[in-house]
Structure formats: structure tokens, C-alpha cells
């Protein structure tokens, strides 16, 4: 028994199945979001809204897991090996910056870096896995898996479309990503946690509540204040890091070569 020394061609049926799972995941997340936004006023004050908490939790989590199931087996091993590195960078660099620039979380540096180097699929998987693995230490981040996957995916798309080729475009892309990510994550904060997990962000929510906003509206507005700035900083930090890498290290990534993600790297001769 001597299997071939060369790789077989990938089967198209498997690719189709994965595409289906990806779509299902995205639909689950979108449907949960729409359901929660439409139904929210009835529930929130009638005691701890456990039905909506369950729906938010299971809808977003199921969506994130479907995305992982679709993406993870298809990723090249080089991206899979980078994911744990990204998760640790999320934590280690996040702590470092977090201790200097107080009002932000900056917990997505690793995710965005992987998205820029390895593309949107790897970014999405990294985001979702980051939340799931980190919930090992802090279970409250588990429900944000879908939002984190979205951030990773958007960062990868921004990179593919050249937002990292000009230095000033990176924070802009981060700002927009932050708006979308914040709006999508707000229902989780509102329905699962009934608020936010930080004292500073809690104060902002309180301010909007004192003006009579519903909880979801207040948290969404708070997210629109913190998240875009946060992601703009994260994208800038990632741009600084990516450009500090030697050319050789950047060009080792097919995604960077193929889509000319970073300025000064000529498109590769391959495909």
C-alpha cells in the first residue's frame, strides 16, 4: 500500500456542501438579529427576558458554529496553525494596549491580522473560535462569537479590496467594520446580559437610558460610540504590524500575493 506522493484534486461536491453551511450560518445570524430587533419591546421589562436570551444565544451561537464547520476543514493548514497564534495575540496585545489606552477593548488585533494575511474565511473562523476558546476562561464572551466572526470576515474583505494598500484607508475600514460589528453585537448585550460587561461602557448606556431610551437602543448607541473607534485603532495597529514585517514574511501568504493586499508587494507569478 503506497498512496501517491502527490495531492489529489479537491472534490467539487465537498465545496458545494461547505458553501451551503456558510450560507446557513449567515442566515441564522441575520434571522436571529432581525427577530430580536423586531420583537424586543414586548420582552425586556417583563422580567429577565429568558426567551429572548435563549433565542439570542442559540441563534448567534448556532450561526457561528455553522460558519466554523463550513470554513475550518477547508482552510489550509498554514491558516489553521496561525489561528491559535492569533488568539494569543488577541489576548496578549490586547492586554498591552488595553493597559495604555483605557476606554477600548482592542481584543481583535490577532483576528484582524490573520484576516489581512490569510483572507476573510480565515478571519471569520479566527473571530468565532477566539470567542469560543476564550470562553474557556471567560464564558461571557461566548455569545459574541457571531459578531467576532463578522469582524474577521469584514477585515479580510477590506484587505482583499485594497484597504490596507494605503495607510490612511485602514482606520476608515476599521471604523466602518466597527459600526457593523457594534450594531450586530448589541442585541446580545441587551438580551443575554441586560447590559454591558464593563463599568465604563455601562456608564454610557446609563446616560442614554436616563434619556428614556429602550435598553436595546441605548446599548446600540453605546456600541456606535465605542466600537468604530476601537476597530479603527485595531486596524491601524494591524497595518503598522503588517508593514513592519519583512517582504519575505508577507509574501509567504498566498492571499497577500494574489490580491496585492499590501502596497509594495508585487503580485506573484503564480495564478
Amino acid at each position: 500500500m503506497s498512496p501517491s506522493l502527490t495531492m489529489p484534486a479537491p472534490a467539487p461536491a465537498a465545496a458545494r456542501k461547505r458553501r451551503l453551511l456558510e450560507i446557513l450560518g449567515a442566515v441564522a445570524i441575520a434571522a436571529t438579529y432581525i427577530y430580536l430587533v423586531l420583537n424586543q419591546p414586548a420582552d425586556i421589562t417583563g422580567g429577565p427576558g429568558s426567551a429572548s436570551a435563549l433565542i439570542a444565544l442559540s441563534g448567534f451561537l448556532a450561526g457561528a458554529i455553522l460558519l466554523i464547520v463550513a470554513v475550518l476543514p477547508a482552510l489550509p493548514a498554514s491558516s489553521v496553525v496561525l489561528i491559535p497564534v492569533a488568539l494569543v495575540l488577541n489576548i496578549v496585545l490586547g492586554q498591552f494596549v488595553g493597559s495604555t489606552l483605557v476606554p477600548f477593548y482592542l481584543d481583535a488585533i490577532g483576528t484582524v491580522l490573520i484576516a489581512v494575511l490569510a483572507g476573510p474565511a480565515a478571519g471569520a473562523a479566527t473571530g468565532a473560535l477566539s470567542s469560543i476558546v476564550w470562553s474557556f476562561f471567560n464564558p461571557t464572551v461566548l455569545p459574541f462569537a457571531a459578531g467576532a466572526a463578522l469582524i474577521g470576515c469584514l477585515a479580510g474583505l477590506a484587505a482583499r479590496h485594497g484597504m490596507f494598500r494605503r495607510f490612511y484607508l485602514a482606520p476608515v475600514a476599521g471604523f466602518v467594520t466597527g459600526i457593523i460589528g457594534g450594531v450586530v453585537s448589541a442585541p446580545v448585550a441587551a438580551f443575554v446580559f441586560g447590559g454591558t460587561s464593563g463599568v465604563a461602557t455601562g456608564a454610557i448606556v446609563s446616560a442614554f437610558r436616563s434619556m428614556g431610551d429602550t435598553l436595546l437602543a441605548a446599548i446600540t448607541k453605546q456600541a456606535l460610540i465605542s466600537d468604530p473607534m476601537d476597530k479603527a485603532i485595531v486596524f491601524t495597529v494591524v497595518a503598522v504590524l503588517a508593514y513592519a514585517l519583512p517582504r519575505r514574511a508577507r509574501l509567504q501568504f498566498p492571499f497577500v500575493r494574489r490580491h496585492r493586499v499590501l502596497a509594495g508587494t508585487t503580485p506573484g507569478q503564480d495564478s
Binding site: 503506497s2 498512496p3 501517491s4 506522493l5 502527490t6 495531492m7 491559535p84 513592519a244 514585517l245 519583512p246 517582504r247 519575505r248 514574511a249 509574501l251 509567504q252 498566498p254 500575493r257 508587494t265 508585487t266 506573484g268 507569478q269 503564480d270
Partner: protein, 528 residues
């Protein structure tokens, strides 16, 4: 040496005909015109200076750098009778797992091969077998057999991350050979091993060759075990410039480029550096005045400093984890040492004796639990390490941690502006770069220099500050012949200008060649 009983007539198991290999994005090929045949039961040494393409060749042969994903290959690879042609369009894609069953590879940095997902050495060894669906009983037997071969039996239940450098290298070899590959390729396996470690590894290689494995060692140093190789292949700038028996290549002078050095420090073609005698002339006479560096009764132990209770114990040491043995042992027990201006002192000792720990006290990175460290007569106890760096230059074993700028020139200039006038800073930076032979590479990214060049660049950053004390950790490791000659010259001229030099090395011959005085660190004490 290739006279293995059953292999004299056998066909090569792995052959390569590399017309050229180019990394993605590079204009020029890294390898050109290399033809290689590896027969079972032979030991082949590929010798070349730093940056000559040894690692690239090794990774290409072992499937670690698959053509297409890693770069563009023109030529062919032939393994176990299957010939793969590249560069003619529609290139085949190598299946690394299948290739890996036939060809094992041990990279320069053995820690990087750990899967990071296995809790014990036994499981780490078995990782490849698990993926090939080998039965548990057979896996257990194979893991035990391999561990016995490598002298790792007592570590089978240890956390792989807690192994020392030498043990880690043996584990990496074990991971490569457990599936019984017919070819084993090792990249710089003898670097940073002490005499005992080198001898042990040499015995292991002989055993493998006798069993019919084709063993390839890539090296920039002619380590003693390589003298027994059947074939030497000399690589220069990516091309083979000579091959043949060791005797033949050594006899014909000029066949070995100066970049390849003989083990023991001196560059390979016996250029007489007149080591100690030469140094003696420079030794300033009259020990009057304060010594540039003085250690008085320095004691230190890692356990006592409460090495920040790390998460590792929490998550990984679940089973049979014997925690690091040095827990509270004293590494340094009353070390006293005086180094005068212009004096070169070498500290030697076996792996793990605490040489690097001693060196870290010189600029205050570690603080003694008892005793004092004086630089130019001043106690550095209260001074942060960043401040002490003005007068003490410390060169680490791993240069890449010390480099962080975009170009070599910026790297050397970093921080100079705070010490000197801008014009002077620029001058000093260029001067330091040319002192280490990197004047031509001032625009290169530090991380893209070959290992030897990174070492020298880190040295230049230190030299540019003209420190009173120069401390070097294992300067010979990862240095090729040319680099070592430059390092020697730079260190001697720094000492000639009055710097006190302390260097730490496991290589006794080298220590004797360069230093005025050799002291030995063993069991936490200095003697000599």
C-alpha cells in the same frame, strides 16, 4: 563509512536535479545547478556558509517547502522510484504527509516542530502515528523504542515544552524517525550542543546509517562527526562548488570556502590567528584603577524570585508532570569576577550550567539575591537595565529578539540620538556597520539577513555605543567562518579601545583561542 553491509550496490532512495529554485517575489534563484543522489546507508554532509541555501535545500528535499506553495522549482525530485518533474507547467503538488513517511526532517530550531497539542513526550512522539491510524499497542511500542534510542525514556511522561535545548533536539529527531523514514535530513544539528551532546548524537547517526537510512547533515561547521561522512557536498551561493570524500576536499586547499569553519572556532582553512599570543600583546599591563566590571559574591536562584506563577501549571501539567527540576536550586553560588579594561574573559561550562543567567546580571536584567555587581566601580543595583545599557552592551543568544527596525541602518542608529549629537550618531552607526562587514546591507531588513548577519548586526548595535563592558552570550552559535572572523576582529578592537569583554560559550577551544583568561562555571561556582 558508507560501507554498510547491505547497501553498497543500492540505488539512491532520493535524488534531486535542481536547475533553479526561486522564492516567491524574489527575482533571483536561491538554488541553482544542484544534483544530489542519496543512497541508503550513507552519511552525507552538505556544507556551506550562512545564507548559502542549505536550509532551503533541506526543506525542499523533505517536502517542507513544497514547490508551488513555497516558491518555483525547475528540475526534478525522485523519491522511492517516483519521479516528479517541475517547471514544465501543470506542476505536481507534493503530498507532504506521504513525502514525510519517506523523508524525515529536523529543522534548525527544534522547538518549532512541537505540535503544541500533546501533553507528554510520549504523545508528541506518537502524533504522526495517530494521524496514520496506527493501532495504540503498536504506537506505544514505537514510542518506547524511539525514546530508548534517543535516551528520552525517563522523559516520556514530561511536558514537551519543559525540555532543555538538547532534549528538545532529540525529541525533534524522534518525531522525524519514529515512522522509520528511509532518509533523514538534519539542519545544523550540532550547533549549541556541548561535547557530550555531540558525541551522543554522532552515535545515534551511526546507528541509523548502519540500519540503512540515508542521513544528510546540513552544517556551516565541520563538526567532528562529519569527518566520518561518506560524501561532502559544498554549497556556495546556492550552487554546488565541490563534492567528494572528506579527505579529498580537505586536502585540496581552496575547495572549502572560508565561510565553512572547523569546529573549535578557527576558520576551516587553517589560517593561523595565533589566538592567545596575539591577544596577550593587547592585554593592558598594570591592573591599577577600578576594574570595568566586578561581581562580588553574586548568588541567584530562579525559584526564589517567584517566577510569576504562570498559567501553564494550571492547564498543562495535569498528569505526571514533574515540575521543572531547578525549582528553588541556587544557580549561582557566590560568584566573584573582576574584568579589567581591555581584558577578554571567557566563561565556559556545560549546557545548563547557568552561563546565560550569570551574563544577565551584568546589566541588571536579573538582580542577585546576595552580592553586588559593579560597573566602573559603581553599583548598578538601583539602575534599570535600560539605563545600565549605556555602559554595558549585552548580546543575546537569539538575535532576532533584539532587532525591531525596518532597515539595518535604522537598527544601529536606534537610541544613538539620545546619547550623541545627530551627526556623530550617523557617523557612528555607519562605522559600526562596516566594522561588522555589513556596510553593503544597510538598507536590508534585519530579519532577511542570514543568521550570521543578524548576529553581526546585533553586535553592531552594541558596538556603536562604545560600551565599557561588552557581554556576549554564545557568540559562536549560528556563526559561519566569515562571521566569526569579523566578530573576532570587532571584539579585539573593542577590547583594544579599552572595553572589558565577557563572553560565555560552551566551546572550550574557541574560548582558549580568543580570551586572555578562561574561567569555568560549574555547580554554581567559578573556577580557573
Amino acid at each position: 563509512m558508507s560501507a554498510a553491509p547491505h547497501s553498497t550496490e543500492s540505488l539512491p532512495v532520493l535524488s534531486a536535479g535542481i536547475r533553479s529554485f526561486t522564492y516567491h517575489g524574489d527575482g533571483l534563484p536561491v538554488l541553482e545547478g544542484i544534483d544530489l543522489d542519496l543512497a541508503p546507508g550513507t552519511l552525507t554532509a552538505v556544507l556551506g556558509a550562512s545564507g548559502s541555501g542549505k536550509s532551503t535545500l533541506g526543506r525542499l528535499l523533505s517536502g517542507w517547502l513544497p514547490p508551488g506553495t513555497g516558491g518555483t522549482l525547475r528540475g526534478f525530485l525522485e523519491l522511492a522510484g517516483t519521479r516528479l518533474e517541475f517547471g514544465a507547467g501543470g506542476d505536481p503538488r507534493i503530498n507532504p504527509a506521504e513525502w514525510g513517511r519517506h523523508v524525515g526532517f529536523v529543522p534548525q530550531d527544534p522547538a518549532a516542530v512541537l505540535s503544541t497539542v500533546r501533553a507528554t513526550v510520549a504523545e508528541e512522539l506518537a502524533f504522526g502515528l495517530e494521524n496514520a491510524a496506527v493501532e495504540p499497542q503498536a504506537m506505544k511500542a514505537a514510542a518506547e523504542h524511539t525514546a530508548a534510542l534517543l535516551g528520552l525514556t525517563e522523559f516520556l511522561e514530561r511536558d514537551p515544552g519543559s525540555l532543555s535545548g538538547g532534549q528538545m533536539r532529540r525529541l525533534a529527531i524522534g518525531c522525524a524517525i519514529i515512522a522509520g523514514p528511509r532518509v533523514l535530513i538534519m539542519d545544523e544539528p550540532f550547533a549549541s550542543l556541548d561535547t557530550a551532546g555531540t558525541a551522543g548524537l554522532a552515535r545515534l547517526l551511526q546507528g541509523l546509517v548502519r540500519l540503512g537510512t540515508a542521513v544528510v547533515v546540513l552544517s556551516q561547521v565541520v563538526d567532528a562527526p562529519l569527518l566520518a561522512a561518506g560524501t561532502w557536498v559544498v554549497l556556495e551561493n546556492g550552487s554546488v562548488t565541490g563534492s567528494g570524500t572528506p579527505a579529498g576536499l580537505q586536502a585540496g586547499s581552496g575547495l572549502l570556502p572560508p565561510g565553512i569553519r572547523a569546529s573549535g572556532g578557527a576558520p576551516a582553512p587553517a589560517v593561523d590567528h595565533a589566538g592567545a599570543a596575539h591577544a596577550d600583546r593587547l592585554l593592558p599591563r598594570g591592573g591599577a584603577g577600578v576594574p570595568a566590571l566586578e561581581l562580588r559574591g553574586v548568588c541567584f536562584g530562579y525559584g526564589t524570585r517567584g517566577n510569576a506563577a504562570n498559567g501553564r501549571t494550571t492547564w498543562r501539567r495535569i498528569r505526571g508532570g514533574s515540575t521543572a527540576a531547578h525549582a528553588s536550586a541556587q544557580v549561582l553560588q557566590g560568584i566573584s569576577l573582576r574584568v579589567r579594561r581591555g581584558e577578554i574573559v571567557a566563561v565556559t561550562g556545560p549546557n545548563g550550567a547557568g552561563k546565560s543567567t550569570l551574563l544577565r546580571h551584568v546589566n541588571g536584567l536579573l538582580r542577585p539575591t546576595a552580592g553586588r555587581v559593579l560597573v566602573n566601580g559603581r553599583d548598578i543595583a538601583g539602575e534599570p537595565a535600560g539605563e545600565a545599557a549605556r555602559s554595558v552592551g549585552l548580546l543575546f543568544q537569539q538575535p532576532r529578539d533584539q532587532l525591531f527596525e525596518r532597515t539595518a541602518l535604522r537598527e544601529v542608529r536606534f537610541g544613538l540620538d539620545r546619547l550623541f549629537h545627530p551627526d556623530e550618531a550617523a557617523g557612528r552607526a555607519l562605522e559600526a556597520l562596516s566594522a561588522v562587514g555589513l556596510a553593503g546591507a544597510s538598507d536590508a531588513h534585519p530579519a532577511e539577513l542570514p543568521a550570521s548577519g543578524q548576529r553581526l548586526l546585533a553586535l553592531a548595535t552594541v558596538l556603536a555605543r562604545k560600551p565599557a563592558v561588552l557581554a556576549l552570550d554564545e557568540p559562536t552559535v549560528a556563526m559561519d567562518g566569515g562571521g566569526l572572523a569579523l566578530l573576532d576582529a570587532a571584539v579585539r578592537s573593542a577590547a583594544g579601545e579599552g572595553a572589558a569583554v565577557v563572553l560565555v560559550t560552551h566551546d572550550l577551544d574557541y574560548a582558549r583561542a580568543v580570551a586572555h583568561r578562561v574561567v569555568t562555571l560549574d555547580g554554581g561556582r567559578l573556577d580557573g
